[in-house]
Symmetry: C2
Subunit: 453 residues, 2 copies
Amino acid sequence: MNEGQEMEEHFSLLLDKLKEQQMAEFRELFLALHIYEQGQFYQSIDEADRKQIYSYLSPKELADMFDVIEEDNENMKDYIAEMRPSYAAEMLSEMYTDNAVDLLNMLDKSQKAKYLSLMSTEDAGEIKELLHYEDDTAGSIMTTEFVSIVANQTVRSAMYVLKNQADVAETIYYVYVVDQENHLVGVISLRDLIINDDDTMISDVLSERVISVHVGDDQEDVAQTIRDYDFLALPVTDYDDHLLGIVTVDDIIDVIDDEAASDYSGLAGVNVEEVSENPIKAASKRLPWLITLLFLGMSTATLISHYEELVSEASILAVFISLITGTAGNAGTQSLAVAVRRLAVTDEKDNNFGRLIISEVLTGLVTGAVTGVAIFIVVGIWQHNFPLGFVIGMAMLCAITVANLAGSLIPMLMDKLGFDPAVASGPFITTLSDLTSVLIYFNIASLFMQYFV
Amino acid sequence: MNEGQEMEEHFSLLLDKLKEQQMAEFRELFLALHIYEQGQFYQSIDEADRKQIYSYLSPKELADMFDVIEEDNENMKDYIAEMRPSYAAEMLSEMYTDNAVDLLNMLDKSQKAKYLSLMSTEDAGEIKELLHYEDDTAGSIMTTEFVSIVANQTVRSAMYVLKNQADVAETIYYVYVVDQENHLVGVISLRDLIINDDDTMISDVLSERVISVHVGDDQEDVAQTIRDYDFLALPVTDYDDHLLGIVTVDDIIDVIDDEAASDYSGLAGVNVEEVSENPIKAASKRLPWLITLLFLGMSTATLISHYEELVSEASILAVFISLITGTAGNAGTQSLAVAVRRLAVTDEKDNNFGRLIISEVLTGLVTGAVTGVAIFIVVGIWQHNFPLGFVIGMAMLCAITVANLAGSLIPMLMDKLGFDPAVASGPFITTLSDLTSVLIYFNIASLFMQYFV
């Protein structure tokens, strides 16, 4: 029996206990599961059974489970709504603050206010503090459940503090050292605490070179720091170095995943995370981009229609339209991907705007030249018409160079203007490059018309 | 003064000490840095200065730094080669085994053998065990530096074991419990050890539902498990449940990042991680795809040339070639991205091949119908020619549907055949869909020729 089957049987047993209203057996079986698996079970049953669960589990037990359920689950709102309000409020207070905030941010304003008013002033205060941080900043993903101590004590007393907070802190593996005014002055890992003698002073063993991020820093930068330094958590401070919270590695994994999915979605011109299996719904998500690009494509068609006479004189020109637009589009997509990636991984200050553009245009010239010469020879031989080959090759060279320019310039400009460069989607670049390619192609063709017809 | 400047000054001071041969001052300044920053400094200086470092730092100190330097750095080979062989071998033995293996895998066979022969039998043995695991499996990213204990002891004695291993283990935050035959029977976190009384028996507090992966499991599945359960590390076993090693979360972040970059690269038809700023080099990386697709594009051109007569009769047809190929290409790219993403995030068994294809084709029909009607109206009005509008709209509907079929079917087939579906690049799908779109377009056009000319 494999793991999947085992889990399925366990789930159906759990469901039986729930339906038979055998609370004690249910609790024993349910709490024996890992909280992630509890979440899987919870999400697999229907409303009536879930309501049964709310009477069998304490708000704290449910909160532990809610801490690991994917926060981007669409059903979260319904789950909260089907609980008694006071139960929901208590569960929210028992969750790690960062997760509770994420959850509350899914509800509408009046709902949010209702649950906050049902909490203790202290819990509500902690949550409110986090609620106002902007999306995608360190503040929006940090939690306030960390362990901080002062330097002027021994390892023994620090371990004592740790033991007391181990139950509520999101991680106890890093302990942050602060001064009387809560300025972050150092960090010590639990590993170091364990290695050192009980009577050692914290001030003698703490690491003063503590890496931290500011509360307004972009979450991508926070992720990059955690990745570079191989940290399990990172402290977040305000601009006067007061310790406000920590960001833990599990949240960073979600950030990395989300950013990757959004870059990928951008390149494809479709939100890959939101696509449903229902064709109507799926189509409605994809059509806005398709229709927008269709109208951009209409300008290309209009442009070609101006050259209709040229085409009727030399219908051979029609043969190479899709070859030129297609190849330039491919080259532009490559440029776009390189530019978006470079913007994502390099620091703001290292982004030499001009250098990347020049490098991409030069790359376009080289690829264009090679591709152009290849097509010059192929078309020349195939059509027994080297002047025509020259026109196609030349158009290819220019179209690829312009596509590379557009592919790198547009995301760079969007970045400068404060937009996410990944929004400059691949389909947009290819459709735009269709327009420029056609313009280039027919102009070169009409210039050399007399030689190849 | 911001952090960047501060670091720069620190680096130039370090370099001065190195050049002035002030070993004591250099060591003090250097070792005060975080190991990631040590790595940044090390990688910023030239060979002569690096050689100086090898005489100032112990192999262990250098190994700590090498543990965090990105393993995909191209210069790693050179770094190793410029060390004395015995120094390099000792450094490799001091590194975490998984990282040493990654490094050794970059060297050629004879080099690998040389360093292994210079190590102690024990160290070489540990490395050799990991060397033979296939790329991208749990075995290839696991490390053997974990802490394992037997259940039949108290928390106090377990903590004693932990303290002794804290220096060499890659993580001490999870302690794995094994039986006499090294079968994995449970896990206990350091958090639990700390909370519980010193006299508690491990067997009373360990968690028996330990989640583990098999040594041959795909690294993507390992990453998914760590992500789902919010683990900091995951035990790796053989098929008889013997504990072989652990995978830590920092390696998982690299896996997630690499997989995302490779999906993104696939969609763009260019390896975004390997692109250089040198236009010749960059072009040489991109040209293989471009030229391959150029020849696929040539088939489209050849196909159109068969319809040249049709075009010379009705040159208006040329006007809409790029609109139809472009829009179908955009739709195909959307389908491709959705299919690749779905293959990546869903379990093998849940992948209902047929359902996804049908859903994509239906989505294609819906988007195609909407787009087709829109273009029918626009072209009908613009050209005062509704039969022509009908031909374009009909071609659009069919081309989009076929593009969606290709965009979903091709990655699915590649997955079934054991290839990475992400290799079915966006440019490939658009170029292929150019071909089918043109075929559809001209066939429909010749069918209705008499009505619109």
